[in-house]
């Protein structure tokens, strides 16, 4: 009888130890899971600075890659004038601060107008409208963004002047067309990007701002989608690299209020 009682007690004890260990293990696993979750959330937040949030969401929430697809987008390319010369005259650490401030101001305006800053190339900004979401107003958004960038730069220049830094001047080129947008690259290294002729055209049009001595230039494709509130002035036909025909551009003077 005593043997049975001892055996039963031993079995109960063993069971208790197993349950206790299992609970401890579960608690450990739950802690690990919570820690991993927190880490993943932090990673998503930080990663958002390098890649559009929509892309991250699609990549983390499903096993579908953000496959490149052709879509009509409006491309805005902005570049600082005289930047190389300025770099020679200003301390690199000051130049980085000036540039960071400029990017901050411009990105804010672009985001407000539904633009998505896709790339910062040196002192250049490549922004797309309608690349990630359907946007029937992408042309109007891009031009309004450019006009507000003009105002934002004026404000930023006041700040620079107070700090005795030279003022900045930019050129903006806007064009519309179909581009391939999505995550590109190989397994080791890939990034969200866009490829297509409209990107090159927008960059060429931006370069024409120096020739035409203006700050915002749009192409014919943009002009036809704007209504008569936008005050435009045609520029002479110019031949640009990579295009067989000369292209017509328009400078954007402003927008009329109702």
């Amino acid at each position: 009888m005593i043997v049975y009682i001892l055996l039963a007690s031993f079995l109960v004890l063993c069971l208790g130890v197993i349950i206790f260990n299992q609970r401890k293990r579960n608690q450990k696993l739950e802690k690990l899971l919570a820690y991993t979750n927190e880490k993943l959330e932090r990673l998503q937040i930080h990663f958002g600075r390098f890649t559009p949030e929509e892309v991250i969401e699609q990549l983390t929430d499903s096993d579908r890659a953000f496959k490149p697809t052709m879509r009509p987008v409006t491309v805005l390319f902005a570049d600082l004038k005289g930047f190389t010369k300025m770099c020679e005259e200003i301390e690199p650490s000051d130049m980085v601060n000036i540039l960071n401030g400029y990017f901050r101001c411009m990105s804010k305006v672009l985001t407000q107008h539904h633009g998505q800053v896709t790339e910062l190339i040196g002192d250049g900004i490549l922004s797309l409208f309608g690349a990630l979401r359907n946007n029937p107003w992408q042309v109007q958004d891009a031009v309004m963004a450019a006009l507000d960038m003009r105002l934002a730069l004026e404000e930023y220049n006041k700040e620079l002047k107070e700090k005795s830094f030279p003022e900045l001047a930019f050129g903006i080129g806007i064009h519309k067309g179909k581009v391939l947008a999505g995550v590109m690259g190989n397994y080791e290294l890939s990034k969200f990007g866009v490829v297509g002729d409209p990107i090159n055209v927008a960059a060429r049009v931006e370069a024409l701002t120096r020739e035409h001595n203006t700050d915002i230039l749009i192409t014919e494709k943009i002009k036809v989608e704007l209504d008569n509130r936008f005050v435009l002035e045609p520029m002479p036909l110019v031949k640009v690299k990579g295009k067989s025909e000369p292209i017509r551009t328009y400078t954007v003077k402003g927008v009329l209020k109702k």
């Binding site: 929509e54 969401e57 979401r133 359907n134």
Partner: protein
């Protein structure tokens, strides 16, 4: 990325409370308590009624547990601090464990649920998010798993119903209900949980009046809900919004059209197009208004509200609440309130139509 309760950006209310004693008595008779949101919406007849009824809609075609989960998931996806806090507290008072709520919020350990529940939660998240578009394939998946078409239609309605309430609450920045949020963890809350939970369940509401008239005459999206109490509920809200005097009918139709175009809903694009022609727009005028978000038929204030409608499709709370506050100063509180209601309803209607249309 869905945020957790304490990470949600939330400001002070954007529009003031307006006391309407008659309305407050009606609310009290119905649910026993007048909440902040009922007073902030009291200036719009149709909106206040919709806000009182919609969150309490009781689903007929699918289990209550899924409806409860839907409320939480939609509020989290839409980052509505007010609704998220309420949904969390209600779930706790209804007896759901904190662990289960945490798991749903973090989309983890879904293995504890069955395949149908997991598919439903995915459906809720994707439809609430609607980025880039409401997911038709998720709807087909639910039907494949054995839910009837009517059940899926009701699920979709319940989600967009929550999205409507989430949007209105977010745009108004309704203050979170701190007392309710504290209740589940308080001694009294723990002690009286079954009774409080039962009382809360008793607040549920469903439409019992049938939708009368020629089915062909109802808006397309209502036709898709025929056979459900939701048909009448949706029809009443749409009629109320379109017939109210707070904003011009032309502006309201354009607001619906803007959302339809943004979410690329062919079904709603056609419907708003016909409605626009019926109410006095010419074909050219309507297209121009949509392309430029301005029209000779609209005042400057109305154009501002039309442009703002675009912002209501995908938004961040902080900038949106600041924008509503600025706009309210320009257009006035009552016009802003009406616009909040119409834009929220347009978002819900179009999302539903993309899915069921």
């Amino acid at each position: 990325m869905a945020e957790l309760l304490n990470d949600i950006e939330w400001s002070e209310p954007t529009l003031p409370i307006v006391h309407d004693l008659e309305w407050e008595a009606e609310v009290k008779a119905d649910i026993g308590r007048v909440m902040d949101i009922h007073m902030r919406t009291s200036n719009s007849e149709w909106l206040r009624k919709t806000i009182l009824k919609w969150p309490r809609y009781e689903a007929k075609e699918f289990p209550r547990k899924l409806a409860d989960i839907c409320t939480l998931v939609a509020a989290q996806e839409n980052a509505c601090r007010y609704c998220y806090g309420v949904a969390r507290s209600w779930m706790r008072l209804w007896g759901y464990s904190q662990k289960m709520i945490n798991n749903i919020e973090r989309s983890v350990q879904m293995a504890e649920m069955d395949e149908k529940e997991r598919a439903f939660i995915r459906f809720c998240r994707n439809l609430s998010r609607s980025n880039p578009k409401p997911p038709k394939k998720d709807r087909d998946e639910l039907i494949r798993l054995g839910y009837s078409e009517l059940a899926v239609a009701e699920m979709a309605f319940l989600i967009v119903n929550q999205c409507f309430v989430n949007r209105v609450s977010t745009f108004l920045a309704v203050p979170p209900m701190d007392d309710l949020e504290r209740l589940p963890n308080s001694f009294l809350g723990k002690l009286l949980r079954p009774i409080i939970g039962w009382k809360l369940r008793k607040m549920s509401w469903t439409e019992t009046r049938p939708l009368e008239g020629d089915p062909e005459s109802f808006p397309g999206v209502v036709q898709k809900l025929l056979g459900l109490p939701a048909a009448r509920v949706m029809n009443d809200a749409l009629e109320g919004a379109l017939n109210s005097n707070g904003l011009s009918r032309k502006l309201k139709i354009l607001m619906f059209a803007v959302v339809a175009n943004s979410l690329d809903c062919e079904f709603c694009k056609e419907e708003t197009h016909s409605m626009a022609l019926e109410c006095g727009f010419s074909e050219t005028e309507f297209n121009a208004a949509l392309n430029t978000l301005s029209s000779p038929h609209l005042t400057e204030q109305e154009e501002k509200l039309l442009s703002w409608t675009r912002e209501t499709i995908h938004f961040q709370n902080g900038p949106m609440q600041s924008r509503v506050r600025e706009l309210a100063l320009e257009v006035g509180d009552s016009m802003m309130l009406e616009a909040i209601g119409v834009a929220s309803l347009a978002n819900s209607t179009v999302r539903l139509a993309v899915l069921l249309g």
